[in-house]
Symmetry: C2
Subunit: 368 residues, 2 copies
Amino acid sequence: MSSDVISFSRGAPSLDIVDIEGLKAAAIRAFDEDPARVAGYGTSVGYPPLREWIAAKHGVDVDQVLVTNGSMQADAFLFDALVKPDSPVIVERPTYDRTLLGLRQRRGQLHPVKVESDGADVAAAQSLLESGVRPVLAHIIPNFQNPAGVTMSLQKRQRLLALAKEYDFTIFEDDPYLDIRFRGEDLPTLLNMDDADKVVFASSFSKTVCPGLRTGYLVGPADFIAKIAKMATNTYIAPNMLAQATIYQFAKSGALERSIETVRGALAERSQVLQDALHKYLPNATCTSPDGGYFLWLDLGEDVTVDKLAPAALKRGVAVVKGTDFVVDGGQHSLRLAYSAVTTDQIPEGVQRIAAALDDCRVSDSGS
Amino acid sequence: MSSDVISFSRGAPSLDIVDIEGLKAAAIRAFDEDPARVAGYGTSVGYPPLREWIAAKHGVDVDQVLVTNGSMQADAFLFDALVKPDSPVIVERPTYDRTLLGLRQRRGQLHPVKVESDGADVAAAQSLLESGVRPVLAHIIPNFQNPAGVTMSLQKRQRLLALAKEYDFTIFEDDPYLDIRFRGEDLPTLLNMDDADKVVFASSFSKTVCPGLRTGYLVGPADFIAKIAKMATNTYIAPNMLAQATIYQFAKSGALERSIETVRGALAERSQVLQDALHKYLPNATCTSPDGGYFLWLDLGEDVTVDKLAPAALKRGVAVVKGTDFVVDGGQHSLRLAYSAVTTDQIPEGVQRIAAALDDCRVSDSGS
């Protein structure tokens, strides 16, 4: 492995687009303005002013919000509440690898529906439902999907919500990238269109501020949130008060809006530079062109498998994530490329390394 | 309820003994010295410099340490790893209410052994083992036990460890109060006496710094810690990096030692003032005289039940925790009193209110 690996693997903002000084100032204000609640135990619903801020952002009641130690922890609580062994669950194909892992650990029965250029194939979900499958949950990443980079259309959102009402299942709207839109109009969230308590929404400050403060949240029906709050109390009493008070001060001061602008601008540029480099150095591959978010999806063609390519790429000094990580089966000819942790000057070099690794694989294939 | 409730209920330091300025300075240094790791995801073992600091403190290898979002979360992972439905578990009687809850939720088969003035009745544990009970775990709070306030003798520690080796079970040494000793000599931890990988040790910075930073940890055999690290990755990727980096800077600077001195001094005084007030205003009750920690245990006598007393006390403006919370059955004539969240000037008034509430209960009994 090269000592200067270029990483397209992790969906985290590079340090140059994290507002460290703003966070430091926010932490100072948190200690100065509210020492008792920063130092005290708190309760499992989270730091009260941040909870209120999130409720206002999403236009919901405060008792519909629970702030957690990162959104993965929120997912874990939600899965523990809803998914029992053999519970049917609709998932997107491909989808976030840790979602698949969490559902498999709870032995959920996974029903993948393909992700199309306008989001999950809702007609396929409808066929599943009509065939008698009765899911407890449909997991959807509506905006700039991880890993596919596509966004679910308004029409599909409406249709999925209608199905959730008709067949009585929960939509888990997993939406950490919502604010990182580069172009086009914001679409309404499923949460905000929901008039039947069918949606539980999760998001995070990891993609808009930074991951190290591990602050995520759930928004859902008040009785469901109360149930999760009880589980959270029994797990850890309360989430991190210092981190949540810091995020609150960061948001209140306007630094969060500036941070979102910074991340959005940088990622828009990196996404474009990456697409340009892919067209130039890998002309036979096809990639999605995301309207926002952290990732794009690259289809390489049938003549290469990522089980060979990924280690060859790492040898060339570039880290990628194999498509196989994001599907129950298949994905052997695809990669997820994150453009969040690379700077624009690294991207063309990184893509050239992928191209060289592809050549290495082809040479070794033809030689065998 | 009085608007100025005096609380003997929660085991948290009062704000006047939390070093807010020191924590603020530590947070600033965390951002200044290590922005990449404070802002980044990190991994589930915790912030690496804090992990190393903890390993050095306990004289163990770094791969024996996992830093968590509070020690309750550490307990939850440990229980998930070891306790299946009907797994026999030895617990102290009385013991921390959240431990009992966590074990019950996992449907562990609880075997309580009485806490004596020198710690858990190890002879009773031996009888259980000889009768054929094969526990997966014995949960022990060795120092200044919560709620009983007593400390396990060296001899009992040695004997329990010998039993763990002979009968092959894990001792969960739950030791958050270790550093808050008022008098007497430190005893070796079970962890440090263990030569057979039988001990998993848990502690926390909640009792020495403050709870709001939600930082606890586990120390145990490296292979067991690796297993827990995998569970932690799948639950939340990584614990809070800002909080852990702040704790690390606080410890490194010497502020932690000063904080421990402050807490120890304040709690030694509060414990004594509380005992004096109990002897004065409740001469017929008996209480433990802790050598350290946050709590003492008060036996009231047979003529009053805490199910009546606790609400009567709250009406009089004093919060207590019922003995019944800390045992599988019984505890109707005892209270746990925490002297950590009260200042010395509140304590005599608080005890007088308990005495008045006792009178209220007796009057209502004789009138019924």
